[in-house]
Amino acid sequence: MAKPFLSIERLTQQFPDGAGGTLTVFENATFGVEKGEFVCILGHSGCGKSTIMNILAGLAEPTSGVVKMDGFEVSGPSLDRGVVFQNYSLLPWLSALKNVTFGVAARHKDWSKTQVEEHARKYLAQVGLEGDVVNRKPSQLSGGMRQRVSIARAFANQPKLLLLDEPFGALDALTRGTIQEELIKVWSQTEQTVFMITHDIDEAILLSDRILLMTNGPMARVAESVEITIPRPRNRTEIVEHPNYYAIRNHLVQFLGQRSKELAGQPSSGDDHRPETVRIDNSEPAPEESEPAVVPTLRAVGD
């Protein structure tokens, strides 16, 4: 089997626990993400999701283990790995537009000013920010608009891997819904590989091709990899009618509610901790091994 596009190999992270000992957040975690795939990682607070993300982003060093992207070992942050932080992380002294051009100019150092601005405006428009709003400072924008700017900044740089850490965690349900749809729209146009943290089950099902489930920490494990066997394009109101939806949802709820506790805290016996692949499919006709994002043969439940 060929190596996946993004390969996380025997990743271990330990922190001093404050009482002289060490806290092992996770141990020998091993999994992969394919090119163009949208993967969500679900788990309880404190299990180590952000820690994994920071390592993937290159903002933190693991205690041991490697992350390889396109066959090359990741070390340090890079423009190839774009990050959308939970708190948006916009620079408050720059306008929305300038926040995006900041990123674009860093990526395309040889571009002219107008080229950079045009590119930035294009991506802002894709998340519904056009006209005068782009000249406002983040403090003059709503939480939803800020996160849109942050998403536009990340997508505008066309990174090979996009990392999102609970991007909608601070938004109200309505705004969340709209931005989720915008995210799908932008993603489907770019075929970006996305790795996203969330603790919202419905959000994960709506967005991802595959959901990684983490057990509780310490000694958390990426225990399962659940395929989302619901064809795209998906729509938040119609997706619930798909026969697989509740089957998958129940499985996830059951995992987070019960099995994440039961599986927690088991030290590895030295071998890799690979997630177990779970495939739930009640729909007819017979399931196919589908490529993500392009599922012409499956009955589209959406439009």
Binding site: W93, L94, K137
Partner: protein
């Protein structure tokens, strides 16, 4: 509402000014200086004239505050004023009269607003005259002070801001330098003066050094604090965009810390302006601080007060400049 608040506060300010000027005027205005004249009744004047005292002499001594009983004694001497002066004055003749120099009316030495107004007008209309090394327009003198402040202050900024960046970014540098900063910061700028005069010698350079040393600390500590407290998220944004250290410092850390840095610069310029006046009083020569001292020694309190007013106005202008700058770089999260 805002407009009416502006209007009302302006009215109130004006009222306070008028009231202040009025009190000042009332307490300092004396129609003619010198001893308060004595007013004689017609009977008394008649009695003196009857003793062959000249009407002019009576008027003169009365105006000098000599009371009737003493006037009566003078009249008894039968001498004219000229002869009395030749004899060494009436006091020499054993008659007690008020001292000419004693007890001027309260406040009569302190200039009235009108006198200040005249001086102020003279200064404003001709601020740059040069009539000798000790007699130059206040515009020129303020210019000297300002120049020293600008030189010392610019040098201080050139040292404090980069050093503050270093201290703010490196916990090692912070811990190593913090004890020195803590000890040197509270030393009064004027305590540096003797050291400066001894080691540097030149009085001009010494006052610049004192400006430097007193404006360095607020800028240094504020820059270090501002840089150290830049949110790590913003630094991470720079890192994920592969910005180098210099680029990060300029495009992320500097704007993020700018409000704190400018606050430090504003405090510093205020201190520098306070200190230059004191320093110039000590070293003398030129500058608005020297002017204050010089006018005081020459007992030209009116001119001294004009100089003091100019110091205040200049200080306000400097502060306003930095307040503008502060507003320009501020941001809300």
């Amino acid at each position: 509402m805002i407009r009416s608040l502006d209007l009302r506060s302006a009215m109130l300010s004006l009222l306070i000014l008028v009231a202040g000027l009025f009190i000042w005027h009332a307490t300092t205005h004396v129609p003619d200086t010198g001893p308060v004249g004595v007013v004689l009744s017609a009977d008394q004047e008649q009695a003196l004239l009857a003793k062959n005292m000249g009407a002019e002499d009576i008027a003169y001594y009365a105006s000098q505050g000599v009371e009737f009983p003493q006037l009566d004694q003078i009249a008894g001497l039968g001498l004219s004023r000229e002869m009395i002066d030749m004899a060494g004055g009436i006091r020499a003749l054993g008659i007690s009269v008020p001292d000419e120099n004693s007890a001027p009316a309260p406040g009569s030495l302190f200039p009235s607003p009108a006198q200040i107004g005249v001086e102020l007008w003279a200064t404003i209309t001709d601020p740059f005259y040069v009539a000798g090394t000790n007699d130059m327009g206040y515009g020129i003198q303020i210019g000297y002070s300002l120049l020293r402040v600008i030189i010392g202050y610019t040098l201080a900024a050139a040292v404090a801001i980069p050093l503050g960046f270093l201290i703010g970014m490196s916990p090692l540098a912070y811990r190593a330098l913090d004890p020195y900063i803590q000890v040197l910061k509270p030393i009064s700028p004027l305590a540096w003066m003797p050291i400066a005069l001894f080691t540097i010698g030149d009085s001009e350079l010494s006052s610049i050094f004192v400006i430097f040393i007193c404006s360095v600390w607020p800028m240094l500590t504020n820059t270090a604090f501002g840089v150290a407290s830049v949110r790590s998220d913003w630094i991470n944004v720079a890192r994920t965009h592969e910005l180098g250290s210099l680029k990060t410092a300029i495009t992320v850390i500097l704007p993020a810390a700018a409000p704190t840095i400018i606050t430090g610069m504003r405090i510093s310029i205020g201190i520098a302006w306070l200190v230059i006046v004191a320093a110039e009083m000590l070293v003398g020569g030129t500058g608005i601080g020297y002017v204050v001292w010089n006018e005081w020694n020459g007992l030209r309190l009116d001119r001294m007060i004009v100089a003091i007013l100019l110091i205040g106005v200049m200080g306000m202008l400097l502060d306003t400049l930095f307040a503008r700058l502060q507003r320009a770089v501020s941001y809300t999260e």
